[in-house]
Amino acid sequence: MLNGISINYYILLSAVLFIIGAVGVMARRNSIIIFMCIELMLNAVNLMLVSFSTLHNDAKGQVFVFFIMAVAAAEVAVGLAILSMIYRNIKNIDTDLLSNLKN
């Protein structure tokens, strides 16, 4: 129990957020939205880590959240750089147009 709410609801909320993010990555076609969905997945994990951390009375989970935030920032920086490079070459960021690699 956390603040009178069962831990299962915290797990459920993060799982729902995570699934929304995962479905978004697979279904959306705009690259920026895909990045947002990946962030959503990672933040769902952060939420769950923080709630477990409070449940266990253990700060390790919250420290882990900092690692995730830092790495996610690095990942998005690289991602946006690649995206701006793509935009320069094909003047578009629709993922449907990125299908030059095939047999």
Binding site: I7, I11, S14, F18, G21, A22, V25, S31, I34, I38, M41, L42, A44, V45, M48, L49, F52, L55, H56, D58, K60, G61, V63, F64, F67, I68, V71, A74, E75, V78, G79, A81, I82, L83, M85, I86, N89, I90, L98, S99, N100, L101, K102, N103
Partner: protein, 463 residues
């Protein structure tokens, strides 16, 4: 441990090279550094006691040092091979430091003892590779490869983190040994989301090693990336990812192997079938090798499956990754030279037997080794994997592996047939740099040597 420090130091040094103007010296310095890291690594291995640092988050025990040795040896050959590609670039310094940082992540993955270092190792290894995959700025194919790699990589990281969070929720710890202790203490009393966490981590790791059905990104990324970067991805990264899987599932989740071994077995079966049959219909050489690397991943996963609780058969995995890495470096080095004009189909190999006999001969050895034909290293690698599987309950996988290997022989021989029996449009000889010749001959000799004394090498890797 010293290997990790030397390699990360080299990465920082490489970034300095631009400022302090020793760009020309960088390549020999990096080669010497990698060699030094290898020697330091070997000395630690010989001294025989393990080093644990950062509150036991990284522990270089014998297994970790053996995998580091394989990775560093591969990296050494890779640098000699790739220098030709980077030499003339104005950004050679950035490329070298990115590769060295990816290598740092790979070494970290061999030695993690905590979920934090697992996650950081994977990201330190992957993020430079996303940049490297997209490093041909004007080439849309390379951009696309980098973008796909990034999306799939961070998607997989999301799964890994979700799995880590669930396992943390159930056990209250990120430490592999503590998780193991908790599992044996609780027995079957673990909450059900703990098992969901294990499966999600397994899926994430299978994404990273590109096992079917999580392999769909691999052919595209391998095809679009610069060839030398493809070589790095299919050797160093693969070995590191396998070291990580082995460590994670053997140490932390060995006690609940029945919950994930069936998933792993079906993934292996799928990978073997899909990879070998898809590879047979490809016309692009790099795509073919991508599918071939998926089937090799399946073989290496078999060792993990056979190794549920003990590390009795680790020598099979180490020997396999060494044989496969060295063979791949040779093959990709030759592909890099042959496809310099942009043609990446099998036709680019036509008549190579006449145009450059030495290169063709080296390619034959590499292909035979990857296909697993006797007297090369690849044959004994497969043989060791098969022997580890005999004692387990997965004999059907063994039969499937042998049958699909036969299909594999077909597409490896397509290259050999093109080289010796097809007419090229031009008769002019293919010339290559001296460094390319050196790495080609060295890797070929290494492959033959590994095949000549397989017992000796395997004996070295017994723990």
């Amino acid at each position: 441990m010293k290997g990790l420090l030397i390699v990360s130091g080299l990465g920082i040094l490489a970034m300095m090279a631009e400022i302090f103007k020793f760009k020309k010296l960088l390549f020999p310095l990096v080669l010497l550094g990698i060699l030094g890291a290898y020697v330091a690594n070997f000395m630690e291995w010989n001294s025989g006691f393990s080093i644990a640092v950062f509150d036991n988050m990284i522990a270089f025990d014998k297994v970790a040092l053996a995998f580091s040795g394989v990775i560093l040896a591969t990296a050494f050959f890779w640098f000699i091979m790739a220098n030709d590609y980077f030499e003339d670039m104005p950004t050679v310094v950035d490329h070298f430091s990115l590769v060295l940082f990816a290598l740092t992540g790979a070494l970290m993955l061999t030695a993690f003892k905590n979920m934090t270092t697992l996650f950081l190792g994977i990201e330190i290894m992957s993020i430079p590779l996303y940049v490297l995959a997209a490093s041909k700025k004007k080439d849309v194919k390379s951009n696309e490869a980098g973008f796909k790699y990034l999306i799939m990589g961070s998607f997989a990281s999301g799964f890994l983190l979700f799995g880590i969070a669930l396992v943390y929720g159930a056990t209250g710890s990120f430490d592999l040994m503590e998780i193991r202790a908790k599992i044996s203490e609780m027995g079957s009393g673990m909450p059900s989301f703990f098992y969901a966490g294990i499966i999600m981590m397994l899926i994430a790791m299978l994404f990273k090693v590109s096992a079917a059905p999580f392999h769909f990104w691999a052919p595209d990324v391998y095809q679009g990336s610069p060839t030398v970067i493809t070589a790095l991805m299919s050797t160093v990264v693969k070995t590191a990812a396998f070291a990580a899987i082995l460590r994670l599932f053997m140490i932390a989740f060995g006690g609940v192997s029945e919950s994930w071994s069936m998933v792993l077995a079906s993934v292996i079966a799928l990978s073997l079938v899909i990879a070998n049959f898809s590879a047979a219909v490809q016309t692009n050489v790099k795509r073919t090798l991508a599918f071939s690397s998926i089937s090799h991943a399946a073989f290496m996963l078999m060792v993990v499956l056979a190794n549920l609780r003990s590390n009795a058969t680790l020598d099979a995995l180490l020997y396999y990754s060494l044989a496969y890495s060295i063979g791949s470096i040779a093959a990709f080095g030759i592909i890099y030279n042959v496809t310099k004009n942009g043609d990446e189909t099998f036709d680019s190999f036509n008549g190579l037997g006449k145009r450059n006999p030495l290169m063709a001969a080296c390619m034959v050895v590499a292909m035979l080794s990857l296909a697993g034909i006797p007297i090369t290293a690849g044959f004994f690698a497969k043989y060791f994997v098969f022997t580890t599987m005999i004692g387990t309950g997965y004999k059907w996988l063994l039969i499937l592996a042998i049958l699909t290997s036969a299909v594999g022989v077909y597409y490896y021989f397509k290259v050999i047939i093109a080289m010796y029996f097809k007419q090229a449009t031009t008769e002019e000889p293919v010339t290559i740099e001296l460094s390319q010749k050196v790495v080609m001959i060295l890797t070929t000799l290494f492959t033959l040597a590994l095949g000549a004394v397989p017992g000796f090498v395997a004996e070295m890797f017994k723990f």
